[in-house]
């Protein structure tokens, strides 16, 4: 079975741990608890008939990605960069963050995820899509679980193809 290391990153409070918990354990908590450092767990998913073990690293949110210890990115095959649709500050640095991450994780798959879909309207999402400098790959809600499985399916396909 193929094993792939995937990093969940982005600013603080965007819902990285909630996406982690929703993906790994199918659970959600309303309580916000800051992540210090890193948490790692794995889940095996089936992608187009092949099994992929996703080793998911949930790392502490930083306003700027160059503050994350570079050792965390070692051997990563995929990056999930999470933004919060309700907070413009979380996508203010998206371009420089993605450029930086692409330098650190060469040849990896990067997915930009717009989270907290349950807290905004369709019109608001369309508005943010107009103003954001890099388009997102998928809109999710860690709370309802909407598109979380789809995110990892898409990522898994990319990881297997790469």
């Amino acid at each position: 079975m193929t094993s792939k290391k995937v990093i969940l990153t982005g600013s603080f409070g965007v819902g990285k741990t909630s996406l982690f918990n929703q993906f790994i354990y199918n659970r959600f908590s309303e309580k916000y608890l800051t992540t210090i450092g890193v948490k790692v767990n794995k889940k095996v998913i089936e992608v187009d008939g092949s099994e992929v073990s996703i080793l998911l690293w949930d790392i502490a949110g930083e306003v700027s990605q160059d503050k994350v210890p570079t050792s965390y990115f070692l051997g990563a095959s995929g990056i999930i960069y999470v933004i919060d649709l309700t907070r413009p500050s979380t996508y203010k640095n998206i371009k420089s963050d993605i450029d930086y991450l692409n330098q650190i994780v060469k040849g990896g798959i990067t997915k930009i995820v717009a989270n907290k879909k349950d807290l905004v309207t369709v019109e608001q999402i369309e508005g943010i899509a107009q103003e954001i400098v890099l388009p997102w790959d998928i809109v999710t809600s860690a709370k309802t679980g909407e598109n979380v499985e789809e995110l990892f399916q898409e990522l898994g396909k990319g990881l297997l193809a790469g």
Binding site: S3, T34, G37, K42, R87
Partner: protein
């Protein structure tokens, strides 16, 4: 390799555990200061610790004499390590045999304290962002009344 030789490398205070791994990821020796590895001998630790599993290919590539690979603030999901630790990995050569030395530093209390302050800071920052957003939307006195 004798036990005496490995003991020189792994005798440390109780907040620090040192584990000697062979290339396969199996435990050769451990001081067991933080958790017992008695029942883990001769099985790869990668099966128990996803973080080590996800790093193992990189650990194999650590060169002798290279600086240790450090991973601060690891919140372990293993029941054996129920806290927050700093991990470091370095290659060692003992009697011609090559090993990885995995050091675990228990900073749980410190990180829990740090998390308390980080949590307060993050919550305050998010509240400030929320207020800024609301004030941006206020253009007229009516908006203030409607915003209540």
């Amino acid at each position: 390799m004798t036990t005496t030789t490995t003991d020189q490398f792994i005798h440390h205070p109780s907040f620090n555990q040192r584990i000697l791994l062979e290339e396969s990821g199996c435990i050769v020796h451990s001081c067991d200061s933080i958790f017992s590895t008695v029942d883990l001998k001769e099985q790869p630790v990668t099966a128990l610790f996803p973080i080590v599993e996800s790093l193992y290919l990189n650990l194999e590539q650590i060169q002798l004499g290279a600086l240790p690979l450090r991973f601060p603030g690891v919140e372990s999901i293993s029941e054996r390590l129920p806290g927050i630790y700093d991990f470091s990995f370095v290659r060692l050569q003992l009697k011609g045999q090559s090993y990885i030395l995995w050091s675990i530093y228990d900073y749980t209390e410190l990180y829990i304290e740090l998390r308390k302050y980080q949590q307060q800071k993050n919550e305050l920052d998010m509240y400030c962002e929320h207020l800024e957003q609301r004030f941006k939307d206020i253009q007229t006195p009516e908006d203030v009344l409607n915003d209540r």
